[in-house]
Structures are given as C-alpha cells and as structure tokens.
Amino acid sequence: MFVEVKNAVKQYGSGDAAVYALNGADFSLEKGEIGVILGSSGSGKSTLMNMVGGIDTLDKGTVTVDGEEISGYKKKELTEYRRSKIGFVFQFYNLIPSLTARENIETTRDISAGNGIDINDVMEKLNITSFADRYPSELSGGQQQRVAIARAIVKNPALLLCDELTGALDSRSAGEVLSVVETVNQEYNTTVLIITHNEEIKKIADRVIHVKDGKVISQETNEHKTSVSELEL
C-alpha cells in the first residue's frame, strides 16, 4: 500500500474536556489512485489529512506513506517529508498574498530537489499563463485554486492532498479544478487524496473512505469510477 493509516488516534484537550478528533481510524490507498474521504463537518477527515500530510502528529497508531512510517517522525523529519513527498491544496487556497501566481508556484519549485516539473509546462497545462503575473486578490476562486494546485504539483509530489478543494467554488470552477486534479493524476501518476463532504466527488475516486466521529466507518473500491466531465456538481 502506498498510504496506510492504522488505528489512528488524536485527542485534543484532556480530562472531561477531551475530544477525540480521530479514534482508531484505518484506511489505505494504492500508488496512483484517487482516494476520496467523505464525512460531515467535525468527523475528523481534515485531521486525518493533516496526519497523512505530516502537519500534525498522532497520539496513537501509525501512518505509512511510500514505505516510510512517518508517525514516529520528529518535527525536522516531518518537514523533510512534506518537502519531498507531499503537495497540499486547501479550500481557501492559502496563496501568499504578496506574491503573484507565478511566484507562488515558484515557492515550491525552489525546494524541489531536482525532480520538479517545469513551471511553464505546469502553468500551461493548468491554464495559468494568462494570469501568471497577477496577485491572488486579482484572481477568481477557481483561478486561485488552479494556482494552488500548480504550486502543489510543480515539485512532482508523490502524494497530493486536497482539503475541500472545491468547497469555496461555484460548480463551474469546481469542475475545472477537479479536471486539473484528474489530469495531474493521469499525467504524473500522482496519488491523490481528496477530502470533501460533497458526495458527487466520490464518483471520480478509485477508493472511497467514509469517516464519522473520528473513525473510518467504510472503505470501498469504486467499481464505477467516472471522469470529472460526467459529474453533476
């Protein structure tokens, strides 16, 4: 398995105020697959992504990505892990406001250890070139999300993590963005893990994982995977 999470536990607070964001979650994903984690707000899906992405650490359990068990990693090792293997896309894009679209993409190209993708190719594929010199505040939500995806993939990550990437977009932009993700998955064989509460998106997944109350309640292979163009967003 390319991604394997076993018995993941994450607790916030202590005593009576303790809240379990993850309470024994398990799931796995093969290399090159698109995984979709579904769940309602507060179910623990973002926490799960943070653990896989090395942003946060587990209290119990293990996370293995590309053969590396990262759950025991220290801060510095996690930084190196994120640097070399992970690409992130967030609901609110998280672009650096004082940098243009191109410069935002350059932020990750600068730290890709030689295996990055040509920035112009990525921009062309994602239709960014025309607004490359604009600042995030001058772009639409869809455009910003495309820049965020370009920033994530330009270093050619092994795993692309997308947290509610269409949550702030209208249906047309959402379709465009998902198409980009699909393209990335197909062109670069990038494993993709999408977190969403939009049931429609699960149709493009190879694997669908349902999360509730910090637990994975179901994990199934999607036998009827469709392309983004067929989605009704």
């Binding site: 943070n50 992405g53 942003i55 946060d56 510095k76 930084t79 190196e80 892990y81 994120r82 640097r83 070399s84 992970i86 992130f88 967030f90 609110f92 894009y93 998280n94 672009l95 650096i96 406001p97 004082s98 940098l99 243009t100 410069e103 935002n104 350059e106 932020t107 990750t108 600068d110 730290i111 010199d133 600042y135 995030p136 505040s137 001058e138 920033r151």
Partner: protein, 762 residues
Amino acid sequence: MNIRQAYPSLSYRKVWKMKSLNKTFKKDFRNNLSYYISITLLTMITVFLAVVAFTDADMIDHDINALIKDNKGESAQFSTAKLLSDEDIASLESKFDLIIEENMYLDAEDGDRTLRVFRPMEKVNIYEVLEGDRPSDNKDILLDRDFADSNKIKPGDEFEFGGVKFKVTGIGIRPDYIYSKKNLNDIWVDKENFAMAQITAEGYEELRDQIDWNETRYYSSVYNNEDNINDFRKTLYDDFSAYQYMSADSNERISKPSKAGDNIFAEGWVIIPLLFIITMILVSIVIGRMMENGRKYVGTLSALGYREGEISLHYSIYAVIPGILGSILGIILAYAAGKGVAMYFIVDYQMINYDYYIRPLPACICLIVPMILYGSVAYIKAKRLLKTNITSMLMERDDAKKKKRHMLEKSSMSFKKKFRIRELFAHPGRTIMVVFCLFLSSFLCMMSFAMKDTVDGFIDSGVKSMSVYEHGYYLNHIEYEKDLGGLHGINVVYERENGESDVTLIGTPDNSKYDDVSMIEGSRSEDGWYISNVISEEKDLHKGDKLTVINSVSLEKKEIDISGVVADDAQAAVYTSYDNVIGLLGIPDGSYNVVYSDEELDIDSSEIAYLSDTDSVTETLGKAMKMFESFIYGMIFMGCLLSVIAVYLVVNMIVEENKSSISMLKVLGYRNSEINGIVLSTNHILVLIGFLLSLPMGFVSANLICNVMNTMVHVVAKPGFTVISMLICAAIVLASYCVSLVLLRRKVDKVDMVVSLKGNRE
C-alpha cells in the same frame, strides 16, 4: 448562539462589557503578549527616564540650594590688607545690608593626605551635621562624608592625622564646600585624600600648636541686597586695601553644585521629550497595526450590531492597559532606583541628605500622557477601520495594501527578494518606523562615541595647552623678593562684564616657551594681547576686536585690543607679556606668582596654591574621562535597548502579519531557517540605511558637543569621530539588531501550521 441570543435581557453595553472583560481581553492579551510586554517595557523605560530626570533635577536643585541658603552659604569671599575689626564689620554690615564673618582654616599634610580643619562659623558658611553629633570636646571632629566614606570612617571611630588622635562625632558639610576641591584650580576632587573637618573653636586654637599647620584666613559675606554689591566692593578696595575678591558665581565649590539641578533639567529637556515622543509614536504605530490585525473581530462586532463608539472605546481600553501598566511600573522603578541615578549626576559633589520623593507633576504627566495617547490612537484607528465595509473586515481584506504590492511582477528576481521588497513598500509606515528606530539607536551610539572621541581629542590638546612647561608652581601669594628658581610669570583672574565667566590674564615670562605657543590668528609681539581660542570661540572675538576685563578687587575696567588668538583650548585666558600684567596690576617689577620649569623644583609646599605637571594633568583628565565613560556607556546601552525593542516590535509585527504565509511555507516543507531567511531578513537593508542616515548626524552631534563644551565648560574641543568608533557603532547596532532577530526566531518556529491555515484567506 451568540451572547445576545443567550441573554436577551442584557443590553448591548452589558454584553459587550461581559465579552471584553471576561473573554476577549484574556484571549487578545494572550495572542498579543509580546506586543503588550514590549509596549509596557518601552513605556516603563521612557516614563522611568522622564520621571527620574525631572525628579532628580528638582531634588538636586532644591536640596543643594536649600542647604546653601539655610546654612548661609557665602555670596562672596575676599581678603583685605587691612584687617577688619569687629566695629568695621558691624559698620559694613549695617551700611550695605550684608553679613560678614572671618573664615579660618588650617591645612596639614600627612603623606598624600591633606586635612583641612575649619574654625566653626556662626553667621556665614555654617556647617550642617548630616550624621552623628556636633563636636563638643577639643578632640572631637566632624568629617566630610566623601572622605569618611572613601576611608570607611563612621561616627564613633577614632581618626588619627599627623600623630593627633580625634574622635569622630559625626559627618557634616559646609555650604561653601559642596564641590570639595582642595584648590579651586584643581581639575578634579580627591575624595580619598582630601579631608575637611569641623572642630570646636577651642579645639581649633589648641590644634595650631600641635601640627605643622598652614593657616588661611579670608572673609566671607552674604548679601541681602544685591544693589549694594558694587559700592561694598569699592569700599573694601578703597578703605581696606582688598587684594582678593571672588563671588560665589566664580567659586566652583559653590556655583557648580548650585547649578547642577538646572543643568540636569536642561539636558533632560533635550533628550527626554524626544525619547518620549519617539516612544509614543512607535507605540501608537504598533497599536494601530495590532488593531488592523484584529479587523476580523472588529467586523464581527460591527456585524453583531455594536455601535462604533462602543467598539472604539473597547479597543481604547486594550491600548490604555499597557500604557497605564508601563507608566505605573516606570514610576515604581523611578521610586526604587531614581535616587541611585541621581547619585550619578552628583558624584563629584559631597553627598548631602537628599530628600528623594517622586515629584507629582512629572509623575502625573507620565501617568496620563501614555494613557491618553495610546487610548486616542486606538480610538481613532478603530473609528477609521469601522469606515471600511463589514465584509472587507470579516474577510480581512485591505484594498489599499494590495495596490501598494504592485511591483516587480515581470522581474526575474527570486520570489524571496520580491517578497522582502514588497513587504518594505507595502507597509511604508512600518518601514519608516524601523528605519527611524535604527537611525535613532545608531545616532545614540554615534553621539556617545563622538563625545568620547571629542573628549579624548580635547585631553590631548588640553594637556598640551596646560603643560607648556613640565611643571607649573602656582603660588598662594605674590612673591616680591625670593627667587624660587625657574621662570617667573604672573597670573591673575579678571572678571568679565555681564557676569560672564572669569578670564585669566597670563603674563608670560620673556624669552620662554610661551613665545612658541602656536597662534590661530596674528603673530606674537611683546606688547600684544592675545585671547585664547576658548574666548575666541565662545564670544566670536578675533584679532582687531576689543575685550573688556574687570579687576575683581578694584573693579577697574581694562579694554583690551585683541592682537591675535592663541591655540589654548583649555582655559579662558588672555596671554600677554609679563610687563603688561605687572603694569596693569601696578605691582613692582620682579613680582611673580607662578614658577615654570621643565625640571622639578624644591619649593616649600606652604607657598604653593597648587601644582600643575603634565602627568598629573593627564591623570586628572583621565579620571574625569572615566566618569564620563559611564555616561557614554549608558547612552550606548540606551541606543541598543531602543534598537532591540523597536526592531523586535516591528519584526514581530511582520511575523504576526505574515503568520499565514509562514504557516503555508511550513506546510510546503520549508525549513525554519529558510523561513527565517525570507521573513526576518526583510529589514536587513534598513539597518544599513538607518546607520548611513545617522552618520552625518554623528558628525553634527560632535559639533554640537563641542559648542556645549565651549559654552558650559569653557574649553574648545575639536569635533572628533574616528573610523574605529564608526565601526564599533556599526557592530553594536548590528549586534542589537541580531539580538532582536534571534528573539523572534522562536516566534517563527512557534507558528502553528494547522491553526494558521484555517484563518488564511484573501
């Protein structure tokens, strides 16, 4: 459900108070802890300095002058050839509305130490007991505090001098010896070796026979009516053949301490308000930025229906808290340490029993000004912020800033450089403040070093000016008969018009080294009158101008035609031939009161008022410089502190405002060192700009220092600011800048990836 919904019976005001006091403040305080600490600290330091400067100045001024007044400190002292009888004194006192009393003291030496025992006076210069009791027995003695402290002598101890044993009954002070120079011409006080003592009148008579004493007598007077002074002096000269007269203004033992408070006050007025204003501006900017960072919360309150006035007032309270806290801490610190700081200003003078208490006026001003200013800034800022639309506030958008970021889009420069440049230009207020703070700290360091270099330069030139000969023996009388060896000259102090500082007329020996003293204007001739560079600079007098001097005894005026300017940077003097001075004084040819020699001469100490040799002048000036150094280091420390706090505050702002970008860079896999390199290095260039801007000011301040030295100390110093000092300044400023960056590294390290990402949107 919000609070209003939960508690519908509560008014908005009550709800708001509940929120702000119980919840928001704690949260805001925690989030902005470093700001609050920095603002509180800056306020505390500024208030401390302001309160201490004005309290100390007032205390020193009041207590010293009260002691002089209460103990009838003399207005003048004089000596007459014809002694004044009791009847003469009574007659003069009644005629001119004044008090006269004869002043007597005995000097004895024991090794390096000199003991000056005063006969107690009853009408003028009455001694005050600071500790212990008055002497009552013939062998009782009351010592001055500086000598007693330097030699660890306490009341009740036994004190032996020249084989005579005394019992120390107390510690005391005379109003005419608060600046206790043994000789008025001494450059510095020697607390360890010069003792002043009071004993009983009977004990004084008894002592005369016991040790080899030199007795000095003169009259001291206190004027009740200043209009009579000139008539009185004329009477002294005409009827009693006065041969020496010195007003309290010309007597450094009295004039320096009595003006000390005024001087501190004058210096305080230059530095303190400037520092206060700078701190207030800096803090105001920081408060403004803090509020901008919290515009989402302002937007939320606005959306909930809170009135503008309520929100503005709410934020004013936030800002007022560090102001009040800093002010109170500053005043407490001033209360605890202010007296200690005062001792630094008056270290030269005898330690009297100062009554230290915080002066209410500066304390009230310092308590109120930061509070009003910070509160007003926050209020105005909040009002301004509330003019933007609520959605923009909620979305934390700032359209004005976005426009400012537009630059270098097409440049091939790395994104890191672009980020830094845009950060600088997108926040011009912040950038100007950083430059200003760095400029100010550089300037403070430079001013300190300029002072040091200037004074160092003066010591070199001053020693040369004062040491034409290796040894100068200044006699305590005019010698008419004996030849004491060496070359003979005559020095006499003349007054100037309008109460200006006295001038020394130096009658130089013929065919001496004085003929070779370098000239700034004109050339030496036998009949010429040459003013020193000090007078020339102070009064802008040059060759061809006239200078009026007044004989302090006869009050006769002499108008001097200035023939040139001598390169003497150390004293207000007029150089002329020996014959000219003899002629002016009307004393016999061959009279002299100074002996110059390059070899050491064997002259009886009883004949010498003071000695001047190159080594002792250098040593004394060196000692003076040591005292000065502590002031310089204090200034440098202030500069560094200001730099560290200011840079910390501003860079802290940069970190705070870029939290989401930092967080994102972390998520992308940037190492902390790389993030520090991008975010914290934004201001590096400003250090250089601030430093370069302060360079010309360093030179200007060196010139100002020279002007002050010329006006207040009556010496000419050449402005000096060496390359080494410049480099040290640069190193100090850079080091203090680095310290603030190191402190901020932790802040960057602590930026949380998860929390920051949640709030990031534009």
